[in-house]
């Protein structure tokens, strides 16, 4: 089974977000980058599926050269090879077009992604890639097992989950508890250095949605503390001051 996992290169979840150049650029200063947490679940499940069924795992990122350490980490976790589509990821559409192009070329049996990136939070790329390749897409997928050419999965729905059966190939956006995040071991880190990381050109540059300006949420005021002996005062404030009851 040939599995493609699409990963993002995103600020660590503890990062403080700031912008520069009159709020038109993300400030990378001091920011640690990681594999997107949902993409990390997808990768972990892909590696498990490969271990169970044989085959290969390819990771793909649409990004500039600075994402390569993140791609190497995915190789250390257990992917066999990697593709970097050399482009700045500007919007979901251009990213999806690029992924679809190389995914088609690779004829994968399964394409796994995260349910969403944690920088754009669009939740769109898996759906777009599926549509571009004429494949079904599912998200957020919480369990995924393969038997022969059929996948059994569960997808989160409001207040619970639903169970699905579908024939390969398809695209899935993953979330926990599909697998546990894997931490690369020493051997993985060593072998990752020599695994192939192919840099390929962007095939699509049309952008439909462009970020003009960024802003931060308004500063929170001081918290109003209520006496623990008198929670009724909290109810009073929520009712009469905040007017949310």
């Amino acid at each position: 089974m040939k599995i493609l996992v699409c990963i993002t290169h995103v600020p660590d979840t503890t990062s403080k977000i700031a912008f520069t150049d009159d709020n038109t650029k993300f400030d990378k200063n001091g920011v640690q980058f990681i594999i997107g947490p949902y993409d990390d679940y997808a990768l972990a499940r892909a590696v498990e599926l490969k271990e169970a069924h044989g085959g290969s795992v390819t990771v793909l990122n649409v990004g500039t050269a600075e994402t390569e350490p993140t791609i190497r980490k995915a190789l250390a976790i257990g992917a066999d090879d990697a593709i970097r589509v050399d482009a700045e990821p500007l919007d979901s559409y251009s990213v999806a077009r690029n992924i679809a192009h190389y995914a088609k070329e690779g004829a994968y049996d399964l394409i796994l992604m995260g349910r969403e990136s944690i920088d754009f939070n669009s939740g769109l790329v898996h759906g777009m890639v599926g549509e571009l390749l004429n494949l079904p897409s599912f998200s957020p997928v919480m369990q995924l097992d393969i038997e022969g050419d059929t996948a059994k999965m569960s997808r989160e729905i409001e207040g619970g989950k639903e169970f699905l059966e579908v024939k390969l190939p398809f695209v899935a956006g993953c979330q926990e508890p599909i697998a546990e995040w894997k931490i690369p071991n020493m051997r993985g880190i060593m072998t990752a250095r020599t695994k192939p990381l192919n840099v390929v050109p962007a095939t699509e540059e049309t952008v439909q949605v462009s970020a003009e300006k960024f802003e931060l949420p308004p500063e929170k005021g001081e918290v109003k503390l209520v006496d623990p002996e008198n929670p009724a005062e909290l109810v009073n404030l929520l009712n009469n001051e905040a007017k949310v009851l």
Partner: protein, 317 residues
């Protein structure tokens, strides 16, 4: 401007978040058509009109009672063509983004999800959307003729002063592949207020020590008509079901009121709740980071504070 709104339903009822989407479309100005899929109660069609839809397209196909992503996308794309709508609005749900992504490709529309305000059309078409998991916003401009907006909960108030919508049957040409995935079953918590739809959420963290102590969280939630949520470790250990997990890697909520009990306020938890209108923290540690994000707080032992809080809420009624 002609706007189509996807009126998502569950068990014959239109979701409240979809009614918000209709009110949103109405505020944008223009003709608002709602698209309803599957079996829908007649009274629900009235709600669509009352909230601002002038027309409802109804695809009666019973197969659509289940959330077939591909079929929904086909139906919405055809409805957009049929009405000549240049804008599609959807409310955030577990399937709306992925369905919208497919419609975007089918109809060549530019798309923005996580939208948190009405668009600004004074110079082109820009919308504000939440990015970096609620830690920032981006004003994005959409340059395509057709546009799709996925809106967050609580972006606009329900209008409820509209009239009667005319209901029109709408036939969609489906492909076999649209129903290619078999939905074999589901597991849904019965009777609870849905986390994603709730106006108030009461969440518990590891500070509650064990699942046996959730009785008071559920009782407080019940008194407030709230949904219950939890922090990630709580669902990881299995104290609470996964769908209650709130935060960066879980459900993102934006209710009017979010009450966090025994939750430290790690940045990844806050990422899922920071667009709530009012945040309340109850924690015995005055240094808990949640107090930096909260509007109101009680520094105290949850096991003493929450029962008193329940009593106070009961008295209010």
């Amino acid at each position: 401007m002609s706007i189509l709104v996807f009126a998502e339903s569950a068990d014959g009822s239109i979701k409240k978040s979809s009614l918000e989407a209709i009110s949103y479309a109405l505020e944008m100005g223009g003709d608002v058509t709602a698209l309803a899929l599957g079996t829908i109660d007649a009274s629900e069609m009235e709600a669509l009109g009352k909230n601002g839809a002038q027309k409802v397209l109804h695809v009666e196909d019973e197969r659509l009672n289940q959330g077939h992503i591909a079929a929904y996308a086909t139906a919405i794309a055809q409805a957009m063509d049929h009405t000549g709508a240049n804008i599609l609005v959807l409310a955030k749900s577990s399937l709306s983004d992925i369905v919208a992504a497919k419609v975007a490709i089918k109809n060549g529309a530019g798309i923005a999800t996580n939208v948190s305000e009405l668009p600004d059309t004074s110079n082109g078409f820009t919308v504000k959307r939440s990015i970096y998991t609620g830690k920032a916003f981006a004003n994005v401009s959409l340059t395509t003729d057709k546009k799709i907006l996925g809106i967050k909960k609580n972006v606009v108030a329900l209008k409820e002063d509209g009239g009667q919508a005319t209901v029109e049957k709408f036939d969609v040409t489906f492909d076999d592949a649209d129903f290619g995935a078999q939905i074999t079953g589901s597991e849904v918590a019965e009777g609870d207020v849905l986390l994603t739809e709730a106006e108030i959420v009461v969440s518990g963290g590891r500070g509650l020590k064990g699942p046996e102590n959730w009785g008071m969280i559920e009782e407080l939630a019940k008194e407030l008509g709230a949904a219950t949520g939890c922090s990630k470790p709580v669902s990881d250990i299995g104290w609470r079901p996964h769908h209650e997990h709130v935060g960066q890697t879980g459900v993102k909520v934006s209710p009017n009121l979010y009450i966090a009990v025994g939750i430290s306020g790690a940045i990844q938890h806050l990422a899922g709740v920071n667009s709530s209108k009012v945040l309340v923290a109850i924690n015995k540690d005055p240094e808990a980071p949640f107090f930096k994000a909260a509007d109101y707080g009680i520094v105290g032992d949850a096991f003493e504070v929450v029962p008193k809080l329940i009593e106070a809420v009961k008295k209010l009624k």
